[in-house]
């Protein structure tokens, strides 16, 4: 896709930078879009032992080039996977703690890592009703998280209009298990356990 230098989209750049955050041997819960693309790229370039989970109910996905699934719930997600199971089962693996990294996008993010994918404006009288959390809230609450999104003023705000998926600070205060990442840092953890990572396109300007 990336044939000539300086002729690439922001999404392609973001995919490549995001892919570099992953390490071989990790188990990654990937959302649709750039996370799915980046996890697949990492798997093909440097991390053949990367295990990708999809909320549709897939463990160990290997997406075929040119056959990207339109969501993480399509049959294309299951091709050459290790296991196909129910959606609740795969989300419960996340709750049990088998996922090293949650990898997702969002409509709006703030300095605390809170993500909004539910409402723009006042939720009682929203300017825009967005599609909602999907598995985003579960991923943010239950795993370390990498967020990949385009760096735009309207997306990177001081405070999100609505906390769909809480950043670890917020989750910790509420008693959600993300408290682990703030309190007890695991030495074996492949990425910095004390700060969730936000990857945006601005890093390469």
């Amino acid at each position: 896709m990336l044939s000539r230098v300086h002729e690439h989209t922001a999404a392609e750049l973001l995919t490549i930078l995001s892919a570099r955050q992953l390490s071989d041997g990790q188990t990654v819960f990937a959302g649709v879009g750039i996370p799915l693309l980046a996890a697949t790229l990492a798997q093909r370039l440097r991390c053949p032992g990367l295990t990708i989970l999809f909320e549709g109910g897939v463990i160990g996905a290997f997406i075929e080039p040119g056959k990207l699934p339109p969501s993480t719930n399509d049959q294309r997600c299951t091709k050459r996977a290790n296991m196909v199971l129910g959606s609740a089962e795969v989300l419960l693996l996340l709750q049990r703690g088998y996922v090293d990294v949650g990898f997702m996008g969002g409509a709006q993010i703030d300095q605390y890592g809170n993500l909004n994918s539910s409402f723009i404006g006042d939720p009682a009288h929203p300017k825009t009703r967005l599609p909602g959390t999907g598995g985003g809230n579960d991923i943010a609450s239950l795993a370390q998280m990498i967020v990949a999104m385009k760096h735009e003023k309207r997306r990177f705000v001081e405070r999100v209009d609505f906390i769909t998926s809480p950043g670890s600070w917020r989750a910790a205060r509420a008693g959600a298990p993300a408290a682990f990442w703030l309190g007890a840092c695991s030495a074996s953890s492949p990425i910095s356990p004390c700060s969730d990572l936000i990857r945006t396109t601005s890093a390469c300007r």
């Binding site: 719930n73 049959q75 196909v84 609740a88 709750q95 967005l130 959390t133």
Partner: protein, 326 residues
């Protein structure tokens, strides 16, 4: 008892749940009916659980039939809702969607039909986390009033919902969220094959369908193919829903069109793009045009498939079957 205010209507008592089950004829009997007859199993105002997820194994044919039958006031719950939700809201069949995500698909941004109905207050969109939806159906299937989960805590998604209850775990003292069981009046599920009794085999992704079938007080199956009971017995490990949970069986080839059915067809993307282009441009008039032409217009489901077109159908079927290629 500080949290009793919402409790009685959110979750039925165990006695009510068992009484509902006793009312059903659970004998080993043939249950094959027409699509139109199956629609009469759903009453106005029912709580309807929908199988599949996003554009996958959506019981589109059954939803199409409910809209044609003029059902009103349904509350529809599903793990993730796609264009099925648009059709249900715009036709007036449904005024409340309970789900974790609702738009046509990530390819097309935000559904203008969903936005139109939710932002104007014509319909409600109750948002839960994906795992919460799963645990609500799971609790319903287990015959317990709730299950504890560790997500949603500290989020505004939790704050928006009056139903869940936050407690200190009696064993560890940790905060935990109790989500109420969801036992829909009726579940609509599409499968690849089942027998006339309703022993259903599902290939590929199961989503939340097994819990949904067991939780619901009535189950309508649509199936690509009705097979003999002997064929079911040859591979009983493939049977995912037992006959005694099923109330009606409808044979409906390409019953998920224009959505996907694992191993049968991938989504009919050209039709979906035509649909999204039409309704996201004009969420009211575009949608009315679509309903008139593709839902109310056709004489039968085959007639609807013919409108999608043979080229697109065959292309989607070829891609669907390719999942079995090495």
């Amino acid at each position: 008892m500080p949290e009793t205010k919402a409790a009685p209507r959110v979750v039925p008592t165990y006695l009510e749940l068992r009484k509902e089950l006793l009312r059903r004829d659970r004998s080993l009997r043939a249950k094959v009916v027409s699509l139109e007859e199956a629609a009469s199993f759903v009453r106005d105002g029912d709580s309807v659980g929908i199988g599949g997820s996003t554009m996958s194994r959506t019981p589109m044919g059954m939803i199409w039939a409910l809209i044609r039958a003029g059902r009103k006031g349904l509350t529809c719950s599903r793990s993730i809702v796609s264009s099925d939700g648009d059709l249900l809201l715009a036709s007036g069949a449904c005024d409340r969607i309970v789900t974790s995500w609702f738009s046509q698909g990530i390819l097309w941004g935000v559904s203008k039909v969903m936005r139109h109905h939710v932002e104007t207050g014509k319909a409600k969109f109750d948002e839960w986390s994906h795992m919460a939806m799963g645990m609500r159906f799971r609790a319903g299937a287990m015959g317990v009033p709730f299950l504890p989960i560790r997500s949603m805590l500290g989020s505004d998604v939790r704050k928006q919902r009056p139903e869940p209850v936050e407690i200190d775990c009696p064993f560890t003292g940790e905060k935990i969220l109790l989500v109420p069981a969801l036992n829909p009046d009726v579940a609509l599920i599409h499968v690849q094959r089942c027998d006339a009794y309703g022993n259903a085999q599902i290939d590929g992704l199961q989503f939340m369908d097994i819990d949904l079938a067991i939780a619901a007080n009535k189950v309508i199956l649509t199936t690509e193919r009705i097979v003999s009971n002997d064929q079911i017995r040859r591979a009983p490990d493939q049977t995912k829903i037992p006959f005694f949970a099923v109330d009606a069986v409808v044979e409906l080839p390409f019953g998920c069109a224009p959505h996907e059915c694992y191993g049968i067809n991938e989504p009919m993307i050209r039709h979906m793009e035509y649909y999204v282009g039409l309704v996201n441009k004009e969420p009211v008039t575009g949608m009315q045009h679509y309903l008139d032409k593709f839902v109310y217009g056709p004489k039968s489901w085959s007639d609807f498939l013919a409108l999608i077109g043979m080229d697109e159908l065959l292309e989607a079927a070829r891609a669907g079957q390719s999942i079995y290629d090495a």
